[in-house]
């Protein structure tokens, strides 16, 4: 395999705010700057010059924009001012397997609940014990350290689950059978090994480890056998081996930078990635039979796992997360202007509409990436009929809008409402959404000490008020990346409803795309923008990046060059069908292997 990128980049100079600034001058640019590397103006502006992604090589997101397939990777230049940083080429030469980092991951709330369900069935009060869900970053990619408050919730949840199990004789007997004549401690030992293998998603073999579990049982057993089991369960359900996805790997080397995962670890990766659930019986049988020790063996599990109801929802869930559909929950819209939005059912409908669209796209429309941006199909129920001038019922019905007012996710009301302000549309948010979510470009932060924004005035359109961004040179550098893209969405108000006027002025939805690899140029209206996006290689590549982040729970990094190439090839080979993404990811180095643990490894 040859180099994936060929583009070389040189320093540019531009005039900005009255002075010449060397492009990339001392800015520590990493990340998805590749696609923007030709955009000299962006970087040169003080207002726009920024630490795009990271400020150090060791930052967890340093590879955020590991560019791929034409962009070029901009690396840190060590902070020595005045020179442009070198552009390293991402390549896959020789393909030495390197899975990249695989940090310890806490189970997500959903994974936790599914795991409990698999182990103990439905437990009353578990969600309450677990406390509020904490809003995560995009795909939960940045995991902070666990807090005491969280641990208190895990404690309460463990108590709740343990009490539910031992409080029900049938479930106690199922989980911890103990017949007359067998020492209680022996029974407990069996529980540790049997239940532990499931709860920890790994066999427990170390005798001392088993003993310390049994000791915890013994403390409670002073009261009763059931209470001993309760104590044991309380402990096991708060163990980091339960709460985190622990991966140690094996000693079987694939390369200097990669070892094979144990079969149990592979099973857990498969099940949590595809289902957000722990391995089930069938997967555990595959562990036992040795079916998960080869790349082919792992790939062979995909068919049945994706047939499973949880597997069928996988790509749908990815799309919801990618499009920030969940953000509708906490969305604020001006109650005087948008009273209908204040009802919870309206918000639920907006989300349901998005889900219905994704389902339809994946199952009935072929699931091609291009359809994501061009599909004329819309869904409505009784809450949302007004969007399309029809009357809906309790269930979602579909409708084809062939007049160009419906183009896939770009006109999906949930997306447009999230990317808007409480009282008006927002070309800025929508432009940023296209840049960040669809093109994987990372924009610099807005500067401090900006001039006051123009005031909201009746009779003046949102677009007109954005004019200052063009007129003021401290704004235009960044905003030329955002506003002209976002203007394309101006036919849609803050709730994502189609409109032809704003502030009693006719809508001007003409826009312009700059600083992209293959879709620069003017367009008029969102339908024309959609065509550009649907045909863009940069967008296609971005989808695979987003999918990688979602599936792996981390950002792609330069070392993932070969994994990303393999993923993109798999996606292309399947005709860019979104449903092919799961199969493509499990065949990558990143998924199949891990790096050897650097510390001493106990046997």
């Amino acid at each position: 395999m040859g180099p994936l990128t060929t583009e070389s980049e040189v320093a540019n100079s531009v005039i900005c705010a009255g002075k010449t600034t060397s492009l990339l001058n001392k800015s520590r640019l990493v990340g998805s700057f590749g696609p923007l590397a030709g955009c000299a103006v962006l970087l040169a502006l003080p207002a726009c010059q920024g630490n795009l992604i990271g400020s150090s090589d060791s930052s967890p997101t340093v590879g955020l924009g590991a560019t791929f397939g034409g962009g070029g990777q901009v690396t840190q230049n060590g902070g020595s001012g005045g020179t442009a940083p070198a552009i390293t080429t991402l390549n896959c030469t020789g393909h030495i397997a390197d899975p990249g980092p695989s940090p310890l991951q806490l189970l997500s709330r959903e994974q936790y609940l599914n795991t409990v369900k698999e182990l103990a069935g439905d437990v009353a009060g578990i969600e309450q014990a677990l406390g509020d869900d904490v809003a995560a970053s995009a795909f939960g990619l940045v995991q902070p350290d666990v807090t005491q408050v969280q641990l208190e919730h895990y404690q309460k949840a463990a108590d709740t689950i343990a009490a539910a199990i031992v409080g029900n004789p049938a479930s106690l007997n199922k989980l911890a059978p103990c017949t007359q004549g067998i020492a209680a401690a022996e029974c407990a030992k069996n529980v540790v090994q049997k239940f532990g293998t499931l709860a920890y998603r790994a066999p427990i073999t170390d005798a001392a480890d088993i003993d310390r579990h049994v000791q915890l049982f013994t403390i409670g057993a002073a009261t009763s056998y059931a209470h001993g089991i309760e104590m044991l369960l309380r402990g096991m359900l708060q163990s980091p081996r339960f709460l985190y996805r622990v991966e140690i790997g094996t000693t079987e080397k694939v390369s200097d930078t990669a070892v094979k995962l144990s079969a149990s670890e592979v099973a857990a990766r498969l099940s949590y990635t595809l289902w957000d659930s722990p391995p089930n019986d069938q997967l555990n049988q595959a562990v036992a039979s040795g079916a998960l020790t080869t790349k082919e063996g792992v790939g062979a599990q995909l068919a049945w796992m994706l047939q499973d109801a949880r597997g069928q929802k996988l790509v749908n869930r990815f799309l919801e997360s990618w499009m920030h559909i969940g953000a509708v929950d906490n969305l604020v819209k001006n109650p005087d202007l948008y009273p209908e939005f204040q009802s919870a059912t309206f918000r639920t409908s907006l989300q349901g509409q998005a889900v219905a669209f994704f389902d339809d796209l994946l199952t009935k429309q072929g699931g091609k990436l291009s359809a994501l941006f061009t599909s004329p199909t819309v869904f409505y129920n009784k809450d949302l009929g007004g969007y399309y001038g029809v009357t809906g019922t309790d269930v979602f019905q579909s409708r084809q809008l062939t007049d160009g007012t419906a183009v896939g996710i770009l006109t999906l009301p949930a997306v447009l409402a999230v990317q808007a302000k409480p009282n008006e549309s927002s070309p800025i948010y929508r432009g940023r959404f296209v840049r960040e979510a669809l093109l994987c470009q990372q924009l610099p932060s807005p500067p401090a000490n900006i001039p006051a924004a123009p005031e909201v005035m009746p009779g003046v359109s949102t677009r007109e008020r954005s004019a200052q961004h063009e007129a003021n040179p401290t704004c235009s550098g960044c905003h030329q990346l955002l506003d002209p893209l976002g203007f394309g969405f101006e036919n849609y108000d803050t709730l994502g409803r189609y409109r032809t006027e704003d502030g009693s002025k006719p809508i001007d939805a003409s826009g312009n795309v700059v600083s992209t690899r293959d879709m620069d140029g003017p367009f008029n209206g969102v339908a024309e923008l959609a065509k550009k996006l649907a045909a863009s290689g940069e967008v296609k590549e971005c989808v695979t990046r987003q999918w990688f982040r979602y599936a792996m729970g981390r950002f792609e990094q330069p070392v993932d060059g070969c994994s990303m190439k393999s993923l993109l090839d798999g996606f292309d080979a399947a005709g860019q069908s979104l449903s092919a993404l799961p199969q493509a990811i499990v065949q990558t180095d990143a998924f199949l292997y891990r790096r050897p643990i650097d510390a001493q490894v106990k046997p």
């Binding site: 520590r28 003080p46 990619l141 401090a448």
Partner: protein, 471 residues
């Protein structure tokens, strides 16, 4: 709570006062050990504890209605409209002007001359609203990350915050090392957090009063024997978990080990709570459960959380807390004071927009009213040593911005209430000339009794303690 009813901690008693955790259970009520002790297990002869509270409200202020506009460095306090509700306590206040959150833009003071992104200087991660909360108590800045709302991308803050530093020094002998309160906190994570245990260790606030109540008054309904059993069993499980973590750590790489160390820190915090789990106070009367995240319940939650926080301090369940009115970049509406518009958009209004300015003053003044309610509560408490509780406190109130319409990190509206046990000379507005707020954080540490602290936050930004604060 009745705000004006005096409380004397020397005479208030409660059955639970003697529990004092597992060890204390074996001590008979009549034991002479307890004779000299007060309700809260403190020695009546010992000096009352100092306490720290960090407060946050969002979207900047209206500078002209917050700061006295007179020249001079040291002004006798004369409250401007936004702070007017604090009139009764003005002698216990310090208003600090001219302190900037340089740490949001600089690594070495003066390198950017306050112009982020100036020639040769890279900006730091996060938009202005996002940077503020992470810097306010840390004197640091945000790490890179993937949070994008309100201008990203950014991660969490890069270092420990002053409240957690103080908690590490004085928080070891209370049920909670610290407590983090919030009111309707929404949005992307870095907007929601002012308290940090360390880099990438957000100490997230609990914005549900019912959840906070359950935390603080857990097990309040148990009998002594039940509590004793619970504590013993919990401790067994915690011991098991500590052992578990130690075993696992030997098998992981350094990065994952660090993650488990933080986990272990949380476990130790729970242990500390167990060891000090006497519920010395009568639980607060809570209203019927309601939707705590409803926009219009903001004032209800504000008061409940204040009451819980006040109680937690009065009962010595903790000596350190933080409190956030909404998140940074708040989109909260304030219809109960006649402002049915969202705060953030309003805060973008130009200075010439008199109507919007008045609305922002109204919003900020409401926060002062709530702040005043808290001061009222502390001011009426007499400590075991006869001193006044408010006098022993250092309550620091800040904001993520100086003003919303310019997104400036300069002239953050800082208020200090309390004298930290007589250390601070209050009743003044002090005008500094462009100093980093890191210096304030140093002074806070010093006033709390940690004179060994000479720098806080990013070392290159901090230039030492603030002059002229102490009595």
């Amino acid at each position: 709570m009745n705000p004006k009813e005096p409380i004397d901690l020397r005479t208030t008693v409660s059955r639970r006062k003697l529990l004092g955790g597992l060890g204390a259970l074996t001590v008979a009520v009549s034991s002479p050990i307890w004779k000299a002790a007060t309700v809260f297990g403190q020695d009546a002869n010992a000096k009352a504890a100092k306490r720290f509270i960090g407060m946050f409200s969002a979207n900047g202020t209206i500078q002209k209605s917050f700061f006295q506009q007179d020249a001079g460095t040291d002004l006798p306090i004369s409250l401007m409209p936004i702070l007017k509700p604090l009139e009764m306590h003005k002698d216990k206040l310090l208003v600090l002007n001219g302190l900037h959150m340089y740490s949001t833009v600089e690594n070495d003071l003066g390198t950017t001359n306050g112009m982020e992104g100036a020639d040769g200087v890279a900006g730091k991660p996060g938009g202005p609203h996002m940077k503020g909360p992470g810097a306010m108590l840390t004197g640091g800045s945000l790490l890179p990350g993937s949070f994008t709302g309100s201008g990203g991308p950014a991660g969490w803050a890069d270092r420990i915050s002053v409240d957690q530093y103080i908690a590490s020094r004085i928080g070891k002998d209370t049920q909670f090392p610290s407590l983090e309160f919030g009111v309707r906190i929404q949005g992307q994570e870095p907007l929601r957090v002012i308290s940090y245990k360390g880099p990438n260790q957000p100490n997230t606030a609990v914005d549900d009063p019912f959840q906070m109540y359950a935390r603080i008054f857990a097990n309040a309904n148990l009998s002594d024997d039940q509590l004793k059993k619970l504590i013993a069993e919990r401790q067994s499980v915690l011991d098991f978990l500590k052992d578990d973590i130690n075993r696992l750590e030997t098998r992981l790489n350094a990065e994952d080990k660090a993650k488990l160390e933080a986990h272990l820190g949380g476990i130790r915090g729970i242990e500390q709570g167990l060891a000090n789990s006497a519920n010395v106070c009568k639980p607060l009367m809570m209203p019927a459960k309601y939707d705590v995240h409803a926009m219009d319940k903001f004032p209800v939650a504000s008061r409940l959380q204040l009451d819980l926080m006040i109680l937690a301090h009065k009962c010595n369940m903790t000596k350190v807390s933080t409190y956030m009115w909404a998140n940074a970049d708040s989109w909260q509406y304030y219809p109960w004071v006649g402002v049915n518009e969202e705060h953030h958009t309003l805060s973008h209004s130009g200075d010439s927009d008199a109507a919007a300015t008045q609305k922002l003053i109204t919003i900020n003044t409401w926060h002062s009213t709530e702040f005043n309610y808290m001061l009222d509560q502390f001011a009426v408490v007499t400590e075991p040593d006869g001193s006044n509780m408010l006098d022993n406190m250092l309550i620091l109130w800040g904001n993520e911005l100086g003003a919303g319409n310019t997104h400036t990190y300069k002239n953050i509206p800082w208020v200090i209430a309390g004298t930290a046990g007589g250390r601070l000379k209050t009743g003044r507005q002090v005008n500094y000339k462009d100093l980093p707020h890191n210096n304030l954080l140093v002074s806070v540490c010093n006033a709390m009794g940690f004179d060994d602290v000479q720098t806080f936050g990013i070392p290159g930004v901090c230039t030492g303690p603030l002059m002229g604060l102490t009595a």
